[in-house]
Each structure stands twice: as C-alpha cells, then as structure tokens.
Amino acid sequence: MQGTMLKPVLKFIETVGEYFLLLKKTLTKPQNNKIFWEHYLREIDDIGLKTVGLISFISFFIGGVVVIQTALNLENPLIDPSLIGFAAKQSVILEFSPTLSSVILAGIVGSYIASTIGTMRITEQIDALDVMGINSANYLILPKILAAVTFYPFLIGMSMFLGVLGGWVAGVVTGLVGTQDYLEGIRIGFDPFHFTYSTIKTVVFAFLIATIPSFFGYRVRGGALEVGRAGTQAVIWTSVMIVFWNYVITQLLLS
C-alpha cells in the first residue's frame, strides 16, 4: 500500500531530476555561433512572431471585457469613474498580460515545441544530431529559450498596451467611462515597479514555456500517440508551473 503511494512521488522526483539534467546539457556554449544565431532568428519567428496576432486579439478584447465588468460592478455615483481605468490598468499590467497571456502561450507554443521535438526524436533526427557529435539538447532547446526570454517581454508589453487600449475603446463605445476619466485612472497610483514585477514574471514564464515542452518532446519514446501525449503533458505542466511560479513571484516581490 505504502509502496503504491510512494511510486508516483518517486516518479515525479525522478522526472524533475531528468528535467534539470536536460537543462544542464542544454545550458552550455553553442558549438557553432553562426548556426546558433540563425536558429535563434528562426525561433523568434516560430515561437514569437507567429503568436503576435492571437495575443493582440485576445489582449484587446480582454481589456474591453475588464472595463465593462468593472464599470458594471462600480455603478455607484459615489465612486469616481476614473477607478474603472485604474482597475483595468492594474488587472492588465499585473495579471492579465504576463500570466494569462503566458498560459495561452503555453498552449500554443508548448504543444508546438513538444510535438516538433518529439517528432524529431521518433524519426531519429535527434539521434542523427547526437551521432554527428552535436549536443542535440543545446542545438534544439537553447535557441528556443533565448528566443522566448528575449521576445516575450516585448510581446507582453504589447499585450499590456493593447489591453489598456481595448479597455478604453470598450469604455467609450459603451459609454460606461469617458476618455478623460479613463486616462486619469491609468495615471492614478502609477508604480514603475509594477512593470519590473511583470517583466520578471514574463521572463520566468518564458523560460518555463521554452523548457518544459522541450523536455517532454525530448524524452518521447514510441510513435505518433506518444508525441500527442507529450504535447498534452507539456501544456498541462507548463500551465501548472506558470500558475505556481506566479504565486511564488508575487509573494516574493509584492507582499
């Protein structure tokens, strides 16, 4: 009985250990700088630029929804309407853009990374790299990590802007808040540290989005079914880790 209960715990510890061993193998100097930077630029396109449209769309409309919901909940003549802008700004900058966008990215990018690396594994492309004397983990994963941690802060910055913009458009279109009040709300209690906090979160989440799916893809054994499972596992665990580290970072930096 005790052994049965202990087995999943031991399995989890073993998996975490394998993840860190893969990181150790990954975080080394690239064998060929020129090829590394070419690969990095390709990753910027694959896991960065291709997500801009969706993240922009979601950010703009979520910003709008935040303003409408806040306005409807603050229908009180004693409450200053500028608080709607303030609430929208705070929600978007502190939580929505860095965290929710990252969870969405975990879904889009996570499944993409896990399935491409997993397919490379089952079609022996990773073996081909290894046998050529190439550190396959470093070659495949490091450009993804660097692309994610350098590009996502800009993506999330854009998401913040579009979220706040979407809130303003929704507020004006619905007549729930005027431009003047909204802009004043955005300026209330402006704290530059909030941007630092969000950027730190984004970089940590970007690292998780690049490494956890890579780990699940890299260790695939079997065929198409296993690649599919790896994609699902990658999305689940990346999302779980984002939520967990969101709590830890918030506790450390804001409490």
Partner: protein, 257 residues
Amino acid sequence: MIEVKNIKKSFAGVGVLKGISAVFEKGKVNMIIGQSGSGKTVFLKSIMGLIEPDDGEISFDGRIWHLLSDKEKAGIRREMGVVFQGNALFDSMTIEQNVSFPLRMFTRKSPKEIKERVDEVLEQVGLPGVQNKLPSELSGGQQKRVAIARAIVMYPKYLFADEPNSGLDPKTAIRIDDLLMTLTKQYDTTTLVNTHDMNSIMEIGEKIILLKNGHKAWEGSRDEIFHSDNKDLNDFVFSSDLYRQMKELFLKYQAEK
C-alpha cells in the same frame, strides 16, 4: 577497423546483448544480420555511441571508446557517417542544407567550398539537381540516397547503415546496396550494415555476423554461408523455399564443377 569485445546490454533487467565480440574490417562491408528482436539495432547503436553498453569494450582503430574524453569522443563521432532506417533527414531543411549541415557545423569551409562538396556527393549518389527540394518532395529511395550523401560528406572513416533497404522496392534496394559497396571502397571506410534483407547479404556482405537472442550465432563471409552447417544460420538464411533451392543448386553446381 572497429573491434567489439564482450558487449552486454540489458533493458529493465532483460538482456538484449549477452556478450558479443566481433571485429569489423576496414574497406569492407560488414553485415550484422538476424531476425527482428535479435538485438541488431541495439548492437549497432551501442557501437555508434547512442546506447551505452553495460559491459564490454568498443574500439575504433585502437581508440577505446569508454576511455576517451568527451572531446575525443566528439572527434570520433565526426569520423562517423550514419544512414538511419528512417533516413532522419531534417524536415525543415532543403536537401542542400541537410547534406551541408555537418560541414557548416564543424568545418571552416567557405560557402563556395561547401556547395562544391554538396554537389559532388549528390552527384556520387546519383541525385544531381535536387539541392533546393525538401525531403518530403523526394521518393523513399531518393531520401535514402540523400541520407547516404549526408553520411559521406565529411569523408567518414566509419559508415553505419541501419536497415538501409527497408521499405524500398527490390530495384532501388539493389541500387542502395551497390552505392554502399562503391562508397566503402572509394572512401576506404569500415562499413557496418544492419539488415535482414537476404538480397543485400548475398550482394554486398563481405563479412557477416549473425545475431540470435543477443548472442553471436555465426560469423563468416558471403561465400561461407552456402557451406556452413550452422543451424541458426541455416534457419535464418534458408528459411524460404527459394533460398533452400538456391543453396541446393549452388552446391550441386560446385560439386559438378
């Protein structure tokens, strides 16, 4: 020359290689044959350094693998050319990028020199003019030849091919066999081919070892196959009526001669 001494490997307590020793000679096509599940692929991957054996010794021209530093191992890897069963071409790269990949990764050759070498090896494998195509645009046989071109582009000392004819029609398979034989002689490589294809064995098997249940069951040359009374070999090679009749005819012909 590759020398293997008493290689053992188990997975989850199940022995797959149970102490195999063999010498694979330079300038020859050495074949590892056996039924599916006999341990051929694990044996070949152990030699290529993709699987770490539990016990035993592998040496490449006297350089004992497990005694080498990582840097020295990387050096030997660059002397290897491998043709994988599924070709293992990089899907996102063109044929030229696939073939030139080891050159771009490990040499300081100029783009012009790299292009010349890629054109040369593609010519050697009979595929000129496919440089800008993607692997998915080629047939199975053509992909195999591209894989061979990538394997030889760095002038390998050791050439490995895992089931090079699987999934190919007989005519294309013969062409691949001929190519492996020609390249072995041209580059003077120690070539190891993993197969259970009887035509290949008879066509190009200069030295053959038969694996059965993780053991070496027989070792010899193509010509010795017909004269051997090894039961495992006869069960494997002459399992079909066609090959049994072929053996009878061959022996009869030799007796009459």
